[in-house]
């Protein structure tokens, strides 16, 4: 059984409990043992960074060091959290003096140190590169059988954070959708930002960006949008009707998180999956 430390991100154990509900059983089904890091804190969400980059980096380095102390890499299902961990790890490699400053702070407060050995994985890359699509295909019990548009967002779509996938024309999620029995829908906006946490402070822009992504996916034939980012998931779903009104676009389409889609296909939560199918029939394009 593959063993990896688990970082739920900032909201999977709060507002986005659907991620927490689904990641645990899907990992069990695929023989992935998620090791809890009860001391892990928020990563600062690129918000604390605006005031003090060093503080955010120290919080992240501490989380990475907690995984490293167990000799494990770290897994998350949130693109934003994954990108933040990659950024901090890269910044520390790029500037050893800065790394030393951060590590001094982490050692002084938490008695651990990040040596750069543990790395962050997004669930998507872990499934495709480490578990393998064949194994996932074999484990499918309820094929998706829908036209699914993958939403990656910009956070992890850069060199060094997207595994071996192409940062600008990614294919991993489409390959995964195919393995789950769905039909991937290609569309231009799959890596465009939907504003992330700026939905609170810069609502109009974030709503227009959200509407642009959703309407592009719908125009390309999507019946369902699947998000690899937990924070963006909220914008794409909870704010979709408001986004449509603000931008004057048709945006009504069911949205689910990557963990939900995989868990549903592997046979978990069949009633939720049934509801999702019903919604696709009723309100999907």
């Amino acid at each position: 059984m593959a063993k990896i430390a688990y970082y739920p991100g900032n909201v999977a154990r709060a507002g986005a409990s659907e991620v927490e509900d689904t990641i645990q059983p899907l990992c069990q089904a695929l023989n992935i043992e998620l090791v809890e890091l009860p001391r892990a804190s928020s990563d600062g969400g690129n918000v604390i960074k605006q005031a003090t980059p060093k503080l955010q980096d120290a919080l992240v380095a501490r989380n990475l060091a907690l995984a490293e102390s167990k000799g494990l890499d770290i897994l998350t299902a949130c693109a934003s959290s994954h990108a933040i961990m990659c950024n901090t790890a890269e910044d520390m490699v790029r500037d050893p003096v800065y790394a030393s400053t951060i590590n001094n702070l982490v050692v002084r407060t938490s008695s651990i140190e990040y040596m750069g050995e543990s790395k962050s994985w997004h669930l998507l890359h872990y499934l495709v590169e480490e578990i393998g699509l064949d194994k996932i295909r074999d484990a499918v019990k309820n094929p998706i059988k829908m036209n699914v548009a993958a939403y990656y967002g910009p956070d992890m779509q850069r060199q060094g954070a997207c595994g071996n996938d192409d940062p600008f024309m990614p294919k991993y999620m489409e390959q995964l959708i195919e393995a789950l029995g769905g039909t991937p829908v290609d569309y231009d906006s799959k890596c465009q930002s939907v504003g992330s946490t700026a939905i609170l402070s810069l609502e109009d822009s974030a709503l227009r960006m959200t509407a642009a992504v959703l309407s592009d996916a719908i125009d390309s034939g999507a019946e369902l949008v699947v998000s690899a980012c937990t924070v963006s998931h909220a914008n794409l779903d909870s704010y979709q009707s408001k986004a449509g009104r603000v931008a004057g676009k048709y945006t009504t389409v069911p949205v689910c998180h990557l963990t939900e889609l995989v868990a549903f296909a592997l046979g978990f939560y069949p009633t939720r999956f049934a509801q999702l199918r019903t919604r696709v029939r009723l309100i999907g394009s």
Binding site: A14, E18, A51, D188
Partner: protein
């Protein structure tokens, strides 16, 4: 002060690294022995210098004491050196002579070239002086002048580096060969050290009938007066009758590659100028070979130079087309074969010349022209600096679109006037307070900025194109008033430049803080994707936000988001969404979410895809949560929560 003429390493070096630690400019320790670096020796080879090749230039003077210190620190005493007294007397041998007799160091006399033609040897027999003038503010031009001088020796020239500060332009009349390397300062101004010389030559310029010259101009394409100082010198010398032997070379902020091209082409030409100032063009080919150290017959045996191969690519190209007259848009698709080294611009040129002459796109110089931005295979890139083979593989697909965030004029040409207007209003150019100049120990004027600071400043804004930075934003297409990251990044770079006047700095920061300012960018992640340029821009804009947060004391929605995000993490180690929604949106925002249907979608579990809605309803019902996506009012704390608090207290106690 001791002057070292030559230094060498005897056998039995124990490679302890002591010499390299003390004087890395001269010594490099390999696995076998300490070596004398090629760059410091007149013979230009890298070995123990058993032949006793003399040190180049003034190195023996500048580093004499350090070389001796290294020799004395050598535990096995294998570092030997030969000393020259300051008065220039005969060398006083401080150690036993090297095994091979050293060649006479005769920098002032140019030895005839072995195997060279009679004409070439004849030209070496006369005056070989080359005058390299530099106008420098931060030291870049001065550094290039020094490098140019080192290369000049390869062509049998005797370089003389001249700081323009205190330079008398009337002396130009007696110079046969002149190279000028100058930066441009502010809005087309001369660097501080060149101002007096410039004024003097304008007041009374000598006749320069026998002078051959070439100019290397350093500038910044983000300024309107790009490389103006260099052009001013070029035009002035021409107007005084001097012969421009090689065209002026413009160099952008990444000046080194362009300078290399210039110096490789201009030096051999100037080396073909005879003592009377005449250019012997017929010797140029031989001179180039001489400078490169070519020597027919030197290589023997079966030797085949390496060949770098890039296989041809068979690709499908899709190009966006737009005709403004018919207001029609669409895509042209064709299959083609391109050389492996072709750029996107090569591809477009080929299409324009062989398929459709009406295809419109902006053409660049081939070296990363800032205005050649397009979107290709999902990324924004400069078409003349992006290779097709970096975008796709054989049998692949290339999709070329106009740069996002700008209205399309025709095909791939976009209207950048919005960007230019924003930039014009933002005024991110230099306005300085009067300041004093600083001088190096040598007396060279180098401006007032600390070199480390100047380097840091240069690195912070070392991007190919601010227009491209502008197009990296995903927000700008959705907010017509947002000035954009390309403009704001320039403003921030200027604001943190210590030469900027206090009034200008305040104006810039005020502009960044205003509506449509730096807070209008919804997601810096969209910039971060674009390699080093995007990373630099995102970092700069994040730093700008940090400075503005300090200044504004976390005012406004963006400030409140940062403040309460930080506080909620400090309270428990986790983000508390309840706190965020309440503090950032406020009561009106929460009520707005109810009427806009956002709260309903949350509470009715649309985002749960059938999960029990009770968890969401709890948040609606239990005070003081307010309304919104708030299932957890009070977070449980992470284990060892005090460690998180300690980090906050150590780094930032404002939360």
């Amino acid at each position: 002060m001791a002057i070292v003429a030559k230094v060498w390493i005897d056998e039995d070096c124990i490679t302890c690294d002591a010499c390299q630690d003390i004087c890395p400019e001269v010594f490099e320790v390999t696995d076998d022995s300490s070596m004398i670096l090629a760059a410091v020796r007149t013979d230009g080879t890298f070995d123990r210098n058993a032949g006793g090749s003399p040190l180049v230039g003034s190195l023996g003077t500048d580093l004499g004491d350090v070389i001796i210190e290294a020799a004395e620190a050598c535990p096995v005493e294998v570092i030997k050196y030969e000393l020259v007294t300051e008065g220039g007397d005969a060398p006083a041998v401080e150690a036993e002579a090297p095994a091979v007799e050293a060649p006479v160091a005769a920098v002032a006399a140019v030895a005839p070239a072995a195997g060279a033609s009679e004409a070439l040897n004849a030209i070496f027999s006369g005056d070989r002086s080359l005058n390299i003038l530099f106008g420098s503010q931060t030291g870049n031009a001065a550094g290039l002048a020094e490098k140019t001088a080192k290369m000049a020796a390869n062509f049998g020239l005797e370089p003389n580096i001249i700081d323009m500060d205190g330079f008398d332009p009337s002396s130009l009349a007696s110079m046969k060969r002149v190279m000028i390397i100058t930066s441009t300062w502010g809005e087309g101004e001369m660097p501080d050290n060149a101002e007096d010389a410039w004024n003097a030559i304008n007041a009374k310029g000598p006749a320069l009938a026998n002078t051959q010259f070439s100019v290397c101009a350093i500038g910044d394409t983000s300024y309107d007066e790009y490389c103006k100082a260099g052009h001013d010198w070029n035009d002035k010398l021409s107007s005084l009758g001097a012969q421009q032997i090689h065209p002026i070379q413009e160099c952008d902020v990444d000046f080194e590659p362009a300078w290399k091209v210039w110096v490789a082409e201009a030096l051999p030409k100037l080396a073909c100028v005879d003592s009377s100032g005449g250019f012997l063009e017929e010797l140029l080919e031989e001179m180039v070979a001489y400078g490169a150290g070519d020597d027919d017959g030197a290589v023997e045996g079966d030797f085949t130079p390496g060949v770098i191969e890039r296989a041809e690519l068979n690709i499908t190209v899709e190009i966006f087309r737009y005709c403004p007259e018919a207001a029609e848009s669409g895509w042209d698709t064709l299959a083609c074969t391109v050389p492996g080294h072709a750029t996107v611009q090569d591809l477009l040129l080929n299409m324009q010349q062989n398929v459709d002459g009406s295809l419109a796109f902006r053409r660049g110089s081939g070296a990363g022209t800032p205005t050649t931005g397009v979107r290709v295979n999902g990324r924004v890139a400069l078409s003349d600096a992006t290779m097709v083979s970096d975008l796709t593989t054989d049998g692949g697909h290339v999709k070329i679109e106009p740069l996002p965030g700008h209205p399309v004029v025709r095909d791939l040409i976009v209207d950048t006037s919005r960007y230019e207007n924003h930039r014009s209003r933002a005024e991110p150019w230099m306005r300085t307070d009067p300041r004093e100049g600083a001088r190096l120990p040598s007396g060279a004027a180098m401006g007032a900025m600390d070199p480390a600071l100047a380097t840091g400043l240069h690195q912070a804004g070392d991007v190919l194109s601010f227009q491209l930075i502008q197009a990296m934003s995903d927000t700008i297409a959705h907010d017509p008033h947002y000035e954009g990251p390309g403009v704001h990044f320039q403003q921030w770079l200027r604001a943190m430049d210590p030469r900027t006047s206090e009034v200008q700095r305040r104006t810039l920061l005020k502009s960044l803080q205003e509506k449509d300012g730096v807070w209008s960018e919804a997601d810096h992640a969209s910039l971060m994707r674009y390699g080093e340029d995007g990373r630099l821009a995102a970092k700069g804009l994040n730093d700008a936000r940090g400075a503005l947060l300090n200044q504004s004391r976390y005012a406004g929605k963006s400030g409140r988001l940062v403040k309460w995000y930080g506080r909620s993490v400090k309270w428990s180690g986790k983000v508390n969404e309840t706190t965020l929604y309440r503090q950032v949106l406020g009561p009106l925002g929460l009520v707005g979410n109810i009427f806009s249907g956002v709260s309903a979608r949350m509470a009715l579990a649309f985002t749960r895809n059938g999960a029990p809605p009770i968890r969401s309803l709890q948040a609606l019902l239990l005070p003081p949560a307010g309304v919104g996506r708030i299932p957890n009012m009070i977070n449980s704390k992470v284990e060892h929560y005090h460690e998180v608090v300690s980090l906050f207290n150590e780094i930032d106690q404002r939360f």
